[in-house]
Symmetry: C2
Subunit: 319 residues, 2 copies
């Protein structure tokens, strides 16, 4: 077991992940706790800790800090939002990925200092923000050559697509695909005819993705989603197939829009792509990307830990 060189935290809205990182930059131990910033542990009356943030930090890695007091502690994610421990103000695009580590925010905790990574803000007619994903992007890029242009996809509740040119983050988009899927399924008429799915129905998933890229797909998400129900009414899609179809439809609209805006703005229609996220979800995205002839796709591993290590290195926090 390697000794501790960095204690790194991925601290979001609903969960807190902690990584004890050794001299090789790899996680030696990992922990996951439910102490997201909207779900902090209650402080007992006799505690000497000042806040739920302090207590959550102590529970996540108090023993690591005690055993390696010289190791820096760094965090990315919503812990740096206005609702977090201390606001780490957004940096505006474009942003060189090696500069992010120069702009950390510090907050004192019971046993030292926590360094917080800032999120990124893209101004414009439709502003966009990321917080936490910038760190994963840095991690995914740590394995690439110096000047490679790449499109980084982070599928999830809110999918993010980040464009990197010459190691500068120049643009990103957000698609609320995951959250919209969940509410359509749980709270609209579309869910009423759906049955549980085992996520193995590739044909229905692909059917949805192809509808989104077809001429009919031009009617847009608000219109095409209704077909999840009507294909059931006409006996073409049973209840278990409908969730898969809807998933394919929504991811299909996301990728179709991404491809269309790249064409409109004269960008390479088949860029090098790196996906970061849940393996199964990344595979679903990879299938839809392939339908759009985007086939140079890699799935990043351990992007969060790598990113926190890189940023700590940029900040001079490593021994």
């Amino acid at each position: 077991m390697q000794s501790t060189k960095l204690i790194a935290l991925d601290w979001g809205t609903t969960s807190l992940r902690a990584y004890r990182i050794g001299a090789n930059g790899m996680a030696q131990e990992k922990r996951a706790l439910p102490w997201g910033i909207m779900n902090l542990p209650p402080i007992g009356p006799g505690s000497d800790l000042r806040s739920g943030f302090d207590l959550a930090l102590a529970e996540a890695c108090g023993d690591w800090i005690e055993a390696a007091p010289q190791a820096a502690v760094i965090a990315a994610g919503m812990v740096g939002s206005a609702q977090g421990w201390k606001e780490a103000r957004y940096l505006e695009l474009p942003q060189t990925i090696t500069d992010i580590g120069q702009q950390l925010t510090s907050v004192s905790h019971a046993r030292g200092t926590l360094h917080i990574v800032p999120g990124l803000l893209q101004r414009g007619a439709l502003p966009n923000v990321i917080r936490g994903e910038e760190t994963q992007v840095v991690g995914a890029l740590s394995e690439l050559g110096q000047n490679e242009d790449v499109l980084i996809g982070l599928p999830g509740t809110h999918s993010k697509w980040v464009r990197v040119q010459d190691r500068r983050i120049v643009h990103f988009d957000t698609f609320m695909t995951g959250e919209v899927y969940a509410v359509l399924r749980r709270h609209t008429i579309l869910g009423r005819t759906m049955l549980p799915t085992d996520h193995g129905d590739d044909a229905s998933f692909e059917r949805g993705a192809r509808v989104a890229m077809s001429e009919q797909g031009q009617a847009g998400v608000l219109s095409t989603i209704f077909s999840s129900r009507t294909l059931g009414l006409t006996g073409e899609l049973d209840g278990a197939a409908q969730p898969e179809y809807l998933s394919g439809l929504l991811i299909g609209h996301e990728i179709a829009a991404l491809a269309a805006t790249r064409r409109t703005t004269g960008l390479d229609p088949a860029p090098r792509i790196i996906l970061i996220g849940d393996d199964q979800l990344c595979e679903r995205y990879r299938k839809v990307l392939a339908l759009h002839a985007m086939t140079t796709v890699n799935i990043a591993v351990a992007a969060t830990e790598r990113g926190l290590w890189q940023i700590a290195s940029q900040a001079g926090l490593l021994p």
Copy 2:
């Protein structure tokens, strides 16, 4: 007060509206009850009525039937669905509007016969259905000349756009705009920063509609809706403005898609339009249509009653 020539029902999922219609084809009395087909009244143990449908009918218009036993009783809406009183099977497109009345379904009730109007089905890669709206379309068209082509919009929970050529219904589309707006506001992160609105903020509504038709709007609904939140983060849209903005955005995407598919299929980009529905909602749609240079817009009055009267006339149910 005119004597009763027809008793007409608009019987949906959550409500039941009854109209007592006189010799001039106009409603002499109107009633609204909560007895939609998913919310029928319970039958008491001593009742001689066979079902909640019978009881709801008796409460809605039992006295009218008793006073005018010669008047036919006709109903449109979900009462004719598979979950309704008796299924009135969908008629397939194209469908001449004067033929709908030839294809009613009958069901016996405690005091006679109820005639039920069938819904319409459009087959194809993405099937589409309407049930109830076909009657409103017939009503709205009753005032038009014989051969006028027209696009009929029925904004609501599920907006329907019905294309009529030579008095034949040739195509229709569904947009789940109203339902999607409601779930985005109630159940997603977008709602968290929203405050109640008085629906008077035209500027924010129009801003959303213009985003949908702009180059940024090409990213599609899944992407643009996130700006309702980020424009709040950057201080450009306060909490009370966000619901209006989101409403403009969604209706804007609906109309933009409608306009785009008309262009793609070579249809008149500025057709004659009739809107049917809630007055305030129709006004919102009229504003967005105007942004798309669709300015020949009328709002139909009493389309349901007129439609039921027309269909009853086609069916030979009028004295």
